[in-house]
Symmetry: C2
Subunit: 222 residues, 2 copies
Amino acid sequence: MTYTYEYPHPAVTTDIVILTVLDGALKVLLIKRGMEPFKGKWALPGGFIKMNESLDTCAARELAEEAGIKDVYLEQLYTFSGVDRDPRERVISVAYYALIPGKNITLEAGTDAADAKWFAVDDRPELSFDHSQILDMARTRLAAKMDYSTVGLKLMPAEFTLSYLQDVYEKATNKPRDKRNFRKWVFSLNVIEATGKKYSSGPHRPAMLYRVSAPEEVKNIR
Amino acid sequence: MTYTYEYPHPAVTTDIVILTVLDGALKVLLIKRGMEPFKGKWALPGGFIKMNESLDTCAARELAEEAGIKDVYLEQLYTFSGVDRDPRERVISVAYYALIPGKNITLEAGTDAADAKWFAVDDRPELSFDHSQILDMARTRLAAKMDYSTVGLKLMPAEFTLSYLQDVYEKATNKPRDKRNFRKWVFSLNVIEATGKKYSSGPHRPAMLYRVSAPEEVKNIR
DNA sequence: CCAAAAGTGTTCGTACTACACCCATGC
DNA sequence: GCATGGGTGTAGTACGAACACTTTTGG
């Protein structure tokens, strides 16, 4: 079956930058391409939009299909439209970024899950298409947004220590923070609460565990 | 001539929210539609992308064709993709916003220029498609961005007084500013410089005229 | 008792807020 | 000389930045 139009139409895809902090570094999930073009090279997960879904839905679907990831924070980033960005045909890509907790990540089997892998954003292979540019923009946006909103909490698991939270902030924004100032700042936001539990991780004082008070909400600061 | 694809492709358009401060209010340029759907109703200028142009180019072209406006600040806003946002066919719209100085505006004749008109954003007719939603987002984005960047200067003519600048900021962000504090703030940014000229507008002390130091640059603050 | 990370307060500087009067001009 | 908008300074407050030691635990 084919589809015919009176005027030429571009193809439209979503590409998703899936970010997390894992093993002490900001990481991105990449997929090894199984088909031309760029066969065997790494790329962001993504795919063509269907006629009966919105872009948000498309991004969420691709995330589930290609990476086995569901129910995560997903936000539209930017739309890329370079005329020659895809060698096959004219493709306009609406980029999204997703934030997921760095703990308890199991890459469930998707279509290509065997070829999905986490890479440190700062030590990544050459990417397909203009995906390197997209990744850079996602990273910049995340760093900026963590300073004026509470998106950073989307990188947190259900329960976490303040040291872990600080580490995630430092890795995601690539800036060191002072321990006492960071804690004062977080508490002043009124977005986390103590669970009452403690977490022992070695021969030293155990840390208090916290949770996000309103997990769904992302509020702007300032 | 027709165009055929193996899979269905959506149409892609750009829609442009052209904003300015005019007669003491934030205004948007709307165009009366000459064709169905929504014939006779007001809409944002915009149109379908061509196969050999990027979205930025498309937005700039539509701006020139439909409103006769060239060489202005233009920034991608968001991509709208509701399945039923256009009754004709599946259309994905990449929204842009443009900022232009409120003085010396002459609506040069474009294709539909006779039917282009400025409306106060707060007192506008019912809009076609989802353009009301797009306009609201542009307005919110502008107000936010004027607090942490120097985009606001894109609303300034070549030479302007500080009172006029303050008025534009107040109208665009919908918040009053203290005169002395506003002036201190602007000067601390180091983005405007005195021309040495004065401007008399009535039976009172004439105002100093200023210009933007680096007209092309838009820098982030904080 | 030793090593290791958790937890905790104070001081300082800067930036934003609030606020009221004199100045220069046209008529 | 009077009406009108243009132009200016200071004091108080709040927020971010810098900075070091005690606490609790496991081994």
